[in-house]
Symmetry: C2
Subunit: 296 residues, 2 copies
């Protein structure tokens, strides 16, 4: 009485033998040796205390007990098939759900176009801004965040860029008024600034906290226009350091302003990072993003 039905795989063998009518035919279907098939049936019979097949030289003929059990064995088979199918589905590429600050889309749209061209089978779903925490709850796969603090240690966190800012002016401005030497030296200088409802205003606020309203000669809603104004000598303005490198006319008054540094992070839920398509995307995205500029 050691009825120990723990080897569930034996019902796979049972079904094959039942359907084929012989252990030899079953062994061919199952891809295992015939003696093994016979041994598994012996084991199943021992486990159930039943005689499942009538053996003779022309094959294995199911007994009444086996016929009774057959439909139940099929149920098991169906359940395992569903399990396997679902497991298979989980390995297949799915839509990558990504969340990012509002300004993000404008800046890196090209990157997504490029990626989609190279990987046409990987789709994206841009989910409206949600908290970082929600990543671990599975509401999104990837989040782009500009804050430095990573609240949830279970998330994979990849710093893809540190945006640094400095105060720039033109040669003409320098000739006329000179450059301030530090952020405590703004008296008598003139500034241009950038403001937009969709963009975090910490740059603008940093300026207004340090200069009087009449020192700000103009406020732009477009970065390029503001840069043009700086170039033409209308005032000093905050520009991303790497972006400024492409504009020879811009000259930094002094070094990067640490208080304005912001890390750009890619946060990925570990579950998502296991998915090959997510890995592929991150690998593609991170270096290219580092080379891009945005205002946030």
């Amino acid at each position: 009485m050691k009825s120990d039905f723990s080897n569930w795989s034996d019902v796979r063998i049972f079904l094959a033998v039942f359907r084929q009518g012989s252990t030899l035919a079953a062994s061919r279907i199952l891809g295992i040796a015939q003696p093994t098939v016979a041994r598994r049936i012996d084991a199943l019979e021992a486990a159930t205390n039943l005689t499942l097949f009538e053996r003779d030289t022309r094959g294995f003929k199911p007994t009444h007990a086996a016929r009774d059990l057959f439909p139940l064995a099929q149920e098991i088979e169906a359940a395992t098939a569903a399990f396997a199918k679902s497991a298979q589905a989980l390995t297949e590429p799915r839509t990558i759900r990504i969340t990012a600050p509002g300004t993000f889309a404008d800046c890196v749209l090209d990157l997504f176009s490029d990626f989609s061209a190279a990987n046409p089978n990987i789709a994206f779903d841009f989910v409206p801004s949600i908290r970082v925490l929600d990543l671990s709850k599975g509401e999104a796969d990837i989040a782009v965040r500009v804050t430095a603090d990573v609240s949830d240690g279970s998330l994979i966190c990849r710093k893809i860029r540190t945006a640094k800012w400095a105060l720039f002016g033109s040669q003409r401005y320098a000739d006329e008024r000179g450059f301030p030497k530090s952020e405590d030296d703004f008296r008598g200088h003139r500034f241009v600034t950038f403001e937009h409802a969709d963009v975090p205003d910490y740059l603008h606020r940093w300026l207004t906290d340090r200069v009087t309203a009449d020192q700000i000669v103009q406020s732009f809603r477009d970065v390029d226009l503001m840069q043009a104004a700086i170039r033409s000598g209308q005032g000093l303005g905050l520009v991303n350091i790497r972006q400024a490198q492409f504009d020879a006319a811009l000259m930094a008054c002094f070094g990067p302003i640490d208080a304005l540094s912001r890390s750009h992070m890619l946060l990925i839920s570990p579950d998502a990072y296991r998915r090959p398509e997510v890995k592929t995307f991150v690998k593609f995205f991170a270096p290219r993003y580092a080379a891009t500029f945005d205002q946030s």
Copy 2:
């Protein structure tokens, strides 16, 4: 990519680890060693191409994929439980379905009482006379038959008794008229016979085929009465040889009449004979039946 989900037992392990949260706790539940549990999970992950658990020093934490798969694994578990339960039910003693000639019940009722007293958990179901063939279709488990021919070779056939018959008379009859020497020597003799609607009449017909109607002096509907008539010398009559041994007054005219020999068979379907309660019954019944007499 050798996704070969053939070891169904691994979902048993999967469920235990999922529920316990650690391979060690799971190993205790399952009664197998912890490294084995961990290895089975590794194997399942390899088979499904999924990471099912996040390993660390405090246990195995299910991933999202594992959580998705869990309900399906439970389905498999439920199906195997149903299978095991059904298999278990098939091993438990069931009613023995028995079919026999009409006269049978009267003759061996005591045997059933005795058996039931000794095996109170084994029940019987007397099914109305059906053909032998129906045994193999599973309509009954055991059949008692008196014919010699066993049509279906797949049935287990046990000859439990050969009933032989001879013509008996009393000393007084012998003194008055002498005994016939053979069945061709019935002229001038007188006979008694037995007839009953519920009993096959081959004995009676054998007699009427060989003697004239006026030679039969009396017909009884009760065997004991007929035997008493023979004893008193009223005529000769057919009596079961073994039954006659108990009645010293009865004398055989000549040897057993072969044409009247009948084998009593116990036919058992192989499926039924595998059931322990059926085996027990047959073992009990066969020798006792051989010691009993009946008219059929």
